[in-house]
């Protein structure tokens, strides 16, 4: 069953067509890659899927519901979570607080219980603390729980972004260049981790990445974008040998 269907999706910024007529279908449990040269419109697609931009044309259907125009936070409640290409952690907060904020939509007590410190508050906080630590453990960040997020090394900040996204309990996870700035060893570990969390949390993952070893290594299907147009899609092997993809990446001369 298609979890996410994108139909003739377009986005133009006063004349500049960032994405045009994109068709995409992602089935439940799939791990799909989205690649393309810089400025191809990949992050714009993420921003439309998460409600940051209102598409100028076409429709997005998530779990059978049309989601154009649904605000970002509601999409998060529906089960779409994302990470950011340029890391957007809550820098002045501790690592565990970052995760707790993402878990806030599942909080079990109300505002007044918090203000008056009713028993429900202590129960809810204890539960939240445990859940947040579980997420941190997956990403081996539990020993850094009390550190400020901005003081973490780059690779750990990237991992914390994924941990935070998972804490919203999504069904669709959008990863925007999760391996950016990582060394080959870290990228390999990340690859394992992505495979593992997909199985463990029953996730469907859509992934933007420039690191081809990662994309080709984990993705089952790949969409290729160039100047906002979907030029190819298929399995990693099909993509590798597709002449239009090679042209987009290396230029016409190379063929």
């Amino acid at each position: 069953m298609a979890l996410l269907t994108v139909d003739k999706l377009s986005m133009s910024f006063s004349g500049l067509k960032a994405v045009s007529n994109l068709d995409m279908e992602i089935n439940e449990g799939e791990l799909v890659g989205l690649i393309g040269p810089n400025g191809a419109g990949k992050t714009t697609i993420f921003n439309m899927l998460t409600g940051v931009y209102l598409p100028t044309g076409g429709s997005i259907t998530f779990q059978g519901k049309k989601t154009n125009g649904v605000p970002t936070y509601k999409l998060s409640h529906l089960g779409i979570a994302r990470t950011f290409q340029n890391i957007r952690l809550f820098g002045d907060l501790t690592v565990i607080e970052n995760v707790k904020i993402a878990y806030h939509q599942h909080v079990s007590y109300n505002m007044l219980s918090g203000m008056f410190r009713l028993p429900a508050f202590y129960r809810g906080e204890k539960d939240m603390e445990e859940k947040a630590l579980d997420f941190l453990k997956i990403f081996s960040l539990d020993d850094k729980a009390q550190e400020l997020a901005k003081n973490l090394p780059y690779g750990q900040q990237r991992r914390l972004e994924i941990a935070r996204a998972l804490a919203t309990k999504p069904s669709l996870l959008l990863l925007d260049e999760p391996a950016a700035g990582m060394n080959p060893q870290e990228t390999r570990n990340l690859m394992e981790l992505i495979r593992w969390i997909r199985k463990e949390f029953n996730l469907t993952i859509l992934l933007i990445e420039h690191d081809m070893s990662l994309v080709m290594g984990v993705c089952e299907r790949i969409y290729v974008l160039d100047y906002g147009i979907n030029i190819a899609h298929g399995t990693p092997d099909e993509i590798k040998s597709n002449p239009r993809v090679i042209e987009a990446y290396l230029g016409e001369e190379a063929i």
Partner: protein, 310 residues
Amino acid sequence: MKLFNVKNLIRLLVLMVVYGIIQYLFINKAINPFYMMTLVLVCIYIILAVSQNIITGFTGQLALGHAGFMAIGAYMSALVVVRMQGSLVAGIIFGALMAAAAGMLIGLPTLRLRGDYLAIATLGLGEIVRIFFLNMDYLGGATGFSVPKTIDWTWAFWLMALSVFLMSSFINSSHGRACISVRENEIAAEAMGINTTKYKVMAFTMGAFFAGLAGAIYANYMYLIHPGTFSFLKSFEILAMVVLGGLGSITGSVVGAGVLTIISAGLADYPEFRMVIIALVMIILMVYRPNGLLGNKELKLDFLRIKKKG
């Protein structure tokens, strides 16, 4: 339940000791009424500064209408107590609730604005409130409105303690963290499922509620309330306290409110120097501690515990 853990009991004990010492000194006439008034003002300003900090320091919204909410609390409680012969408690609750209602009403449209625009809009709204009461002859208008003094130091102190407890509990709960995430990164907060508009309005309403409470205490302590008291300079004074103590620090606001109120009282005989000195304090602070006295850290009681043991 766990509300009465060791830490909180020590906090309560410290509060009772502070209260007891001051009350003892007052009864034995070691503190004259002028200093007593200053201490009550410190309590009022602590509530104002902490509530402003909820909006500005924690939620990151630069709102400058706090004097307006204080005025609503003051006048509405006076309305209940004087015009409707209601009880003091009813007056305080009504004043605070009306201020909160006004905060929510004003917050819904204005909190869509960002940065400077929000500051200007709230500044204007604060002035509108002041001018409204200036022209409201039923509540005294330009001559001021006299309210019997029914609040004493005990009331002010314990209401302050309760307010600070409630606000710091809020900020240290999941809902408070949601507010802080708005300050930290609005886009990420939205993506993590935080309805940022809702939490901005929530923080704003709560700030207004406690500003109204402070206004109600002020009205029932000061014999006379006058629209001129609630001008935008008052809002700036409150913001100065928050910045002095540190944006994002509850105890910082307490310290900031205490320091600035006491400086103001000390300079009561030289009113022309008051603003100069306050400005000077702020400039020196900006040079040496740009994040305020405490930054975004909290003053902990741990060091007291060690001292007691040793």
